[in-house]
């Protein structure tokens, strides 16, 4: 790791008190690196802590423990003006385009606001930049005067993306940016994000529950379960050779057009509560391969430090491998 990562997170923990002395372990010790120009996907089901982790990286939640480095600088404990300036380099695109734009501001003002707040450029330069951004995301400059309720969902998400681009950030945190949109509009936004990444050399921390979307956009993928990363690797590694039974179950559950990657794996029940996560492997309760060891000891991520790593005692056992083969081989 000679090159400086766009974002580097180590041992991040985010815990919330919920009253009665109980604590939600939303994110429980995750580490990852996002090299410059890479789209990094964080996938998992609801309650996995993926959004909480992303919001902590953007310093919109407080980290309980661990460090967050943005372009090599530790931003975990910055505040006030220092944090405001650091935000130039890390911006956020939110999930619900109907909720993420202030209904009382005009589209142009929304996109200009980051530059106003961070004191970037002269008023004239900011206004020109807004025009440029509108063109970049595929909106017309005349639409600057309109209010958010006058746009469709896809157009609103374009405004949200333009706002995130305004300060020329190096990294954009995308929190389920297409899940609230219709499929036809999803494709427009995904293509826009793909194009921006290529042309501006952006890095993404991309949160999604949709494996199809993540496979399409992300170069590197981490799978989260109950606050922890259970598997991490490149796009091709995760889909060609998923190692963790949970990753395999997730892939298997995606409804596909043709007889797809379905090994007939069905998870039973729901994830356990993050208030008192179980001892040992957190997935053991739903895992068809779980043994006594899995329920007693916690597996740690292991494997090639720069390649695919998995946190599972049984990932290399023949039973698991057999199911993996069934999942990844082309059906006759």
């Amino acid at each position: 790791m000679s090159e400086i990562s766009a974002l580097s997170v180590s041992d991040l923990k985010v815990h919330f008190p919920v009253g009665g002395g109980k604590v939600v372990h939303a994110v429980d010790g995750i580490s990852f690196d996002i090299p410059a120009g890479v789209a990094f996907g964080l996938v998992g089901e609801s309650g996995s802590g993926k959004t909480t982790a992303a919001m902590a990286c953007a310093r919109l939640n407080d980290a309980t423990d661990g460090t967050i480095r943005l372009g090599g600088d530790d931003i975990t404990h910055l505040d006030g003006d220092q944090m405001r300036q650091a935000r130039r380099d890390i911006q956020v695109v939110f999930q619900d385009p109907y909720a993420s734009l202030n209904p009382r501001e005009r589209a142009g003002a929304i996109v200009r606001r980051p530059m106003d707040l961070m004191g970037i450029g002269t008023p004239k330069e900011r206004e020109d930049r807004v025009d440029e951004l509108f063109a970049t995301v595929g909106l017309r400059a005349e639409q600057k005067a309109l209010f958010p309720h006058q746009f469709s969902g896809g157009q609103r998400q374009r405004i949200g993306i333009a706002r995130a681009l305004a300060t020329r950030p190096k990294l954009i945190v995308c929190d389920e940016p297409v899940s609230a949109l219709d499929v036809a509009i999803q494709a427009q936004i995904l293509n826009l994000l793909g194009r921006l990444k290529a042309e501006l050399g952006l890095s993404y921390l991309f949160i999604s529950h949709d494996l199809g979307v993540v496979q399409h956009l992300c170069d590197k993928i981490a799978v989260m379960y109950l606050g922890q990363i259970v598997e991490i690797g490149s796009r091709s590694a995760i889909f060609r050779r998923p190692m963790h039974p949970y990753t395999m179950a997730l892939i298997s559950a995606v409804p596909t057009l043709e007889a797809g990657m379905d090994a007939g794996m069905r998870l039973k029940g729901d994830p356990p509560s993050p208030i008192s996560p179980p001892e040992g492997c957190r997935f053991a309760g739903r895992c068809q391969f779980a043994q006594d060891r899995c329920r007693q000891q916690s597996p740690v991520l292991s494997g090639d430090p720069d390649g695919q790593r998995v946190a599972c005692f049984r990932a290399r056992d023949p039973e698991v491998a057999a199911l993996r083969d069934k999942l990844t081989s082309t059906p006759a």
Binding site: I185, A187, S236, V254, D270, T328
Partner: protein, 334 residues
Amino acid sequence: MTSSSPLLSVRDLEISFRTGGREIPVVRDLSFDLSAGETLGIVGESGCGKSITALSLIGLVPSPPGRVSKGQILLNGEDIVTAGEDRLTRIRGNEISMVFQEPMTSLNPVYTVGEQIAETARAHFGSSRAEAWDRAIEMLKLVGIPSPEQRAHNYPHQLSGGMRQRVMIAIALVCEPKVLIADEPTTALDVTVQAQIFDLFRELQRKIKAAIILITHDIGVVAQMCDRVMVMYAGRKIEEGPVRSFIRDPRHPYTRGLISCIPKLSRDPSDTPEPLFEIPGVVPSPADLAELKGCAFAPRCNRAINECQLHSPALTPLGSDRAVACLRQEEIPA
């Protein structure tokens, strides 16, 4: 797809909404049949009229401002559109049930789930409290809720999203309806839970032979669950057919677009993915549609010719079991 008379038959349905002094149709010229034991998928983007169509099937179009302004909905030959409220109450639950997208808001938070299922059973069968309670537990078992005797005493907020949706399905099925309408039943759920719910649907369909109408925006779900598919765009049916031919050989440019614009999961993903196919623009609003003469999809269609702007294409049969509403469907290569 049996040749006998269909269970549910919708004929020339038109649903209109009154806004700003004008009555604007949001569903037009809609006809389709549903046979016993069949699963029909209705696909389309938000605003295409699929959810309001579902509501009309159980006489729940919010009125005012909406109403069924034309056509018939025949359930075993009886017209639901003209049925009185008393009759509708009997039909709902007994013959047609509905499962909604958001299980939290559809359950009453102040009653236990057991009471809610039992109450439905009592209302429809007139059974005693004890019988109804037993029936509730039996239903919870049927939908795959572990330790149903204990779970029956839980309140909705004590259950997870997947469990709540199972409870909703139990309520919908307790009276053994002939038709189950599921409007985006798994959109709020995780994929692993979605897979469980769909397994449950398949199993229940085998057991009680219900016909299912599955409304969804997810074409993957349609491919996995449905026998037949109907695609709606801007209030009209634009394509219909068996699910295999719909996926392998979609005929309408909109259907093609819908299928090719979703990122598909591949076992061997490329490191440099091609951009997705894009359908440009957005769905026209019902108000815009009222002024449009031609095909509603023409402004977004990459195959549109002048003719398409002039008149709206009628739904034409294609083979024995398919139909498409596109002027150019014969010219477009497969």
